[in-house]
Structures are given as structure tokens and as C-alpha cells.
């Protein structure tokens, strides 16, 4: 799915006043590959290119709709139909902000860093607000529709909201299927501190 920066920017015409080739050469000349992180990380896919407009101006609505469809079609639901793993492990994933940086140990599991942007367990005071609070998420319902919606949101957020700031945890391979199930349990399990607040 990766295509070269030059090509993407050629598609877009240009980025602001910056010509595609200038951007491409500046990026490739400005970074060095290090440890497990190569210069291929600088290449954009179609979605990233579409969502990189200066001042986040909305792009062409038809293109956005197509990207949304593509994202939705890319979602892989859990093989055995089981959405929920262990909320305890999910809590660890939510707390862990490491993974895929050149300073991280590639042998260790990636984190989801949910707390960077969301409130979850209300007892954890160090939560960010780039995303909405997910405290009591389980009370929003436990139906199959709700489970599939949430799984899809985690897998590829652009299926609902093109150019959302949230990472594509499933589609980009940030979290494994098991980790996603664990995060799901952290969100839905009645015993999870997200839902079960001790007095």
C-alpha cells in the first residue's frame, strides 16, 4: 500500500506552497535510518497523504468517502468471533506508551498508550484529552453491533472518521489481535476498572 512520497504529492499537486520534490528531498535528507527504523517510515500511503493538508483543511468529499470505504473494507474481525480477552492485560496495553520508536526494544510488545489521549479507569489521574473520555464505556452497551463498532474503531478509525488523529492499531499492525481483544475487555468487561468503580 506504500507508495513513494513524490508520487503521493504529485497526486495532491503540491503541499501548500511546497513542491512535492522539495518536500521529498528535504525529508529524505533530514532523517537517518536508525536501529529498526528505516527511511521507509517517511513514505506516505494514500490516506496519510490525504490527511496531511496544512491547517487540516478538509479534502475532497468524494475522496474522503472512498478512503472511508477502503478503511472499512480492510477491517479484519477476530477469527473465532470472540471479541473480549483479559481486561487485566488490556489495562497494561492501555498504560504502555512504548513500541515502534527507534529507542524501543523491538523484542518487547508494543503498547496502545490509550491513556495518552483518553480517560479510562477514573482512578488514573494521568490521562490525556485528545480523545473523548471512555470511562464507563461498558455502559454504552454490550451488543454485537457495539462490539463490532469498537473493534473497527480500534482496527482502523478512518472507517468512521477519515483523518481522525487516532492510530490504526489493527490495520498498521501496532497491536496484535490478542492485544486488541485485551483492550476490548478493558473497555467492556464489567469487572474492568473502566466500568467497575470501587467506592
Amino acid at each position: 500500500m506504500k507508495i513513494t512520497i513524490t508520487f503521493v504529492l504529485w497526486l495532491a499537486g503540491c503541499i501548500g506552497f511546497v513542491q512535492a520534490e522539495d518536500m521529498s528531498s528535504a525529508l529524505n535528507g533530514g532523517f537517518k535510518a536508525i536501529n529498526q527504523v528505516g527511511l521507509d517510515r517517511l513514505e506516505q500511503d494514500t490516506l496519510q497523504a490525504f490527511c496531511s493538508k496544512p491547517r487540516e483543511e478538509p479534502g475532497d468529499a468524494a475522496v474522503a468517502a472512498e478512503l472511508r470505504q477502503t478503511a472499512l473494507a480492510s477491517v479484519v474481525l477476530p477469527g473465532n468471533g470472540e471479541y473480549l480477552g483479559s481486561w487485566e492485560r488490556g489495562q497494561e496495553v492501555a498504560n504502555n506508551g512504548k513500541g515502534l520508536q527507534y529507542s524501543d526494544n523491538p523484542e518487547e510488545a508494543n503498547g496502545g498508550n490509550c491513556y495518552a489521549c483518553h480517560q479510562l479507569d477514573p482512578a488514573e489521574v494521568a490521562y490525556g484529552n485528545l480523545g473523548p473520555s471512555l470511562t464507563n464505556y461498558g455502559a454504552r452497551g454490550q451488543s454485537d453491533v457495539m462490539l463490532e463498532y469498537t473493534w473497527t474503531k480500534l482496527w482502523n478509525t478512518h472507517a468512521y472518521n477519515v483523518c481522525s488523529h487516532m492510530p490504526r492499531f489493527g490495520a498498521q499492525g501496532i497491536l496484535t489481535e490478542q492485544q486488541l481483544k485485551d483492550v476490548m475487555a478493558f473497555l467492556f468487561d464489567p469487572d474492568s476498572p473502566v466500568n467497575n468503580q470501587a467506592e
Partner: protein, 158 residues
């Protein structure tokens, strides 16, 4: 001084040292001699063992005014201040700073020399959210006050 696992021994050891210090402190000027470092207390790996190494679990005292942040932006540097209300707690000769959940709770010990104020400001590392202790010692024994400092996680990569 080696690590003293039980209170009794350590206490006797400590009193001996304490007496030496008391004598030393009474001497003027350059003749002041430093106390021996209480190695056992610094080497202790939990709070009870730290107290045991000093010889006594301190009793709560309103005479110690301990200023710490309720929540720290980073645990690598947590500013603390210990003051003593001398009307409540007189003759304080030592001040100690302890951080409950650090690998070694004892962070610092200060000898308050005659003429000086029982007053310390410093900055300590706090490994995780826990209680910080300010301990004061005078001839009657050990006194303490504790306060919790929350250490927060930060960043998009940690």
C-alpha cells in the same frame, strides 16, 4: 557499620554513635566532628528496615512541617522542605528524608548543629507514587510526618 537486621542491636549501636555526635556537636568551631554515616539505614530496602536500622519507629508529631508537592510532574526531581516548630519539638539534632517505595527509602540525613535551624530544603527522586517521610530526632527519640506524592507518567512514547 554493617546492615543491622533487628532493632535492638541497631538501636544500641545507634545510641553509641548518637552520644559521640552529641559530644562532638557541643564542641565549638572546627573541632566539630562528623557523625558516622548510618550505613545500615541507607542500605535498608524497605521502610520498616530503615526504621529498625535507626533503632525506633518514629511517632507522629505535629511539630514537623513537611512541604511536598501532592503531585509531581516528574519523579526524578521532587522538591521537599522540612521545618520544625521548635515550640512543639525542641532540641532536634537530626533530620531524615525517606521515600517509602524507593529501592532504598533513606534519601538523606542531616545533622543540625547548634545554632542552626532545623530546616532543610532539597530535591529527591521518587520512583513511584508513595509516601514521603520527614523524620526528626531529638533526645526523646524519633518523630515523623508523612505525605503522599503522586508521580505521573507522561509523554507519547513512554
Amino acid at each position: 557499620m554493617k546492615v543491622e537486621p533487628i532493632g535492638g542491636m541497631a538501636r544500641r549501636e545507634f545510641l553509641k554513635v548518637g552520644a559521640l555526635i552529641a559530644a562532638a556537636v557541643a564542641l565549638p568551631g572546627k573541632l566539630w566532628a562528623a557523625a558516622t554515616k548510618p550505613d545500615a539505614a541507607f542500605a535498608a530496602t524497605d521502610l520498616n528496615a530503615t526504621f529498625a536500622a535507626l533503632g525506633q519507629t518514629p511517632t507522629e508529631s505535629a511539630g514537623i512541617i513537611f512541604t511536598t508537592p501532592d503531585i509531581a510532574e516528574n519523579g526524578a526531581v521532587v522538591p521537599i522542605k522540612i521545618e520544625v516548630d521548635e515550640a512543639v519539638l525542641s532540641g532536634v539534632s537530626r533530620l531524615y528524608v525517606m521515600v517509602e517505595k524507593n529501592p532504598n527509602p533513606m534519601a538523606a540525613m542531616f545533622s543540625v548543629v547548634e545554632g542552626s535551624k532545623p530546616y532543610i530544603e532539597t530535591r529527591v527522586k521518587v520512583a513511584q507514587t508513595c509516601n514521603l517521610y520527614a523524620v526528626a530526632e531529638n533526645e526523646e527519640g524519633f518523630f515523623m510526618v508523612s505525605k503522599e506524592t503522586k508521580v505521573t507518567l507522561g509523554g507519547c512514547g513512554g
